[in-house]
Symmetry: C2
Subunit: 445 residues, 2 copies
Amino acid sequence: MSSLLIRNGTVVTLDDAFTIVEGGVLVCDGRLAAVGAEADRHPDAAGARVLDAAGGLILPGFVQTHVHLCQTLFRGMADDLPLLRWLAERVWPLEAAHSPATLAASARLACAELLLGGTTTVLTMETVHDTDAVADAVAATGLRAVLGPCLMDRREPHIPPRLWKDGPDAIGEALALHRAWRDHADGRIRVALAPRFALSCSRGLLEAVAATADDEGLLVHTHSSEQRDEVAAVVAETGLRNMAYLAATGLASPRLCTAHAIWLDEHEMDLVAGHDVKVLHCPTSNFKLGSGMAHVPEMRARGITVSLGADGAACSNRLDMFDEMRLAATMQAVRLAPGALPAREVVWMATRGGSRTLGLDAEIGSLEPGKRADVIVVDRGGPHATPAGDPYSTLVYSARATDVRHVVVDGTPLVEDFALTTLDVDEVTASAREAARTLVARAGL
Amino acid sequence: MSSLLIRNGTVVTLDDAFTIVEGGVLVCDGRLAAVGAEADRHPDAAGARVLDAAGGLILPGFVQTHVHLCQTLFRGMADDLPLLRWLAERVWPLEAAHSPATLAASARLACAELLLGGTTTVLTMETVHDTDAVADAVAATGLRAVLGPCLMDRREPHIPPRLWKDGPDAIGEALALHRAWRDHADGRIRVALAPRFALSCSRGLLEAVAATADDEGLLVHTHSSEQRDEVAAVVAETGLRNMAYLAATGLASPRLCTAHAIWLDEHEMDLVAGHDVKVLHCPTSNFKLGSGMAHVPEMRARGITVSLGADGAACSNRLDMFDEMRLAATMQAVRLAPGALPAREVVWMATRGGSRTLGLDAEIGSLEPGKRADVIVVDRGGPHATPAGDPYSTLVYSARATDVRHVVVDGTPLVEDFALTTLDVDEVTASAREAARTLVARAGL
């Protein structure tokens, strides 16, 4: 049996009672065996490898439920543009230019940033082709991921032909990826069906996704109601607003994970709440692309599960949960009032909200005996976090990605004393720079 | 002659043409002697101390034009409260509890965070008493500061009596501080007159401040038009809106620096533009306290000088210019449209906007021969900033405070290879923790 003891910290468990205890956590064979003061005293603690939390906060790893690893190389290439130009002029041409090698470089760059910042699980929408290269790259880093090739079958002139793929072919490829991974990597790599958004999919594709997701028990990962223009276009095409249209295709279910959900009317809010559809809130992306401010406190008051993600580096520029937590909280203060979305609620969204969204709440999202050991340690000794008060306030308002001292996924340390264990950061950034140059040249930008 | 060569970077000069050149900067006796490729070749470069920029961005130090160093110890003690409760229940009792020793601890903690994050100059409003302790502490760190005791002469029951001070006494103390410092520290420590805000000052005090500031050529540092309730209260008391009232007391001038300025009507916008009043924009504070979104692009279009500050740690929790730049840009994208406040404009606000606000534009704010050498070096090699594109995009959207490699003020390195040279960070944080405990006990919180 392999044991790991993380000791000498304050454990922010994120259990249902929001218990906070002094001590540590003991991990045996990838699962939590003891939490709190008992961790040190547990019989299996003797002989365990020890990671010193150095007085920091020990908490579940962050779950980012909406990212695009394939867009990490596009960082800084698509600033200050409105959404449709951003897609047509930058993101689609660059996605179409990707090869398996550049996709792997992009995914590895993303994983380095995500792990260094305490994110242990992502739900990611990749591009139309070569998602197997992404899965291989992610699996090698140790990050936990639910990933899927993007499905988009509308052959429109502003979309590069390389991103056209008929529905049956695309779903077939996603299922092949699902079958290839479901018995590997101890379940760390899972596959979702990922129709891009209503306007890039035929109704037939959306209906086929709904049926396949039901048959196979897969998550569906999409975007909707991100911008007012998009809602208007969906209404013009279908006679229905965005979420209502997704429901009409059969997609509304607890396995539907929809990014953004900013412009929902009351009927759509009822649909989301009634079907337990999951909302993936992306504060920085929604600001930078000028999308709007999601009504998160109102959704939470209705019992809707809302989680957090940085979206792609092409829109948010950093894949940093601390940024997203801070803006998630402060944007509701300015939209409604201070305290409208308290710090504790935001940390819940960043952890439990994510595990519930992914259907993995029995496995990850909190530090409780029996759960998988996805654990991070966050320092609170720096000048910017001093004096350290309430742990939730520290996490949301003071702490930064660079305060993440250790990161453990499935019991394996992936960051130790601020350094990656499975990636060579200089090699990753050098490969990323070279891949980015290749992509830009190939896309003719 | 003492010489310092910062070499091997990309120099973002922030001169009027926004020149960017490869190379470095040469500093002789505290002033810039050469910028760009010439720095290496200049005759005085031989024998100079060398700081390697390691391929990073070399730019003028950030100027934060609205902070409260005395509130740094209140970090995390006043979250999620509306402004008036925030002041009456937390900030005022804690300020009243300050001693010279706790003020020094608070200022040193602030300086550590500010310098590590690339801020080289602040305009700071301190509390009513013992500002000499703050001036001494700041001077010892090497930071450049314009500071002033807060002036507030209204004896109201919700204000602790220790914060009551009659106008003539308060102005006299500020002038004594001004006289004590004006011939010291090579002008690095200057004094401003700092009436807190209209509602905490008598009209007589404001008029006396205006007259004294004119006579002595001092800056006036205040808050106004931060929240709608505050504007309504000023209207109820004076019959005038906030900025109009300040103008009526004689305060409107190019030396008036007013934080926030969110709720200005058209007439007040004309007043601000016409009198060249400076606006100190504090994005995080305005969000977290639920104040509103300042109309920065509209102000800039009228030629108003807008600069940036983090406000106190009691409201923004971090004194981090990178946070403020990022939110300044993205909040305008969501309020207006992507690109409404481009990254280059935001970096200008963080540097030149600040130097113009303080009347120091001939001395600091850009990297041009003859100016004082307030210079920072920002890494762009980390995963979160890779690939590095446009320098302004990198600075606003990707870079973080922890990317600041070197910080030089007046030619003296205060941060070298990410470490403070004039402060022992462990001693500073330990003293701050102890001082915070003392303050909380003394304030009875």
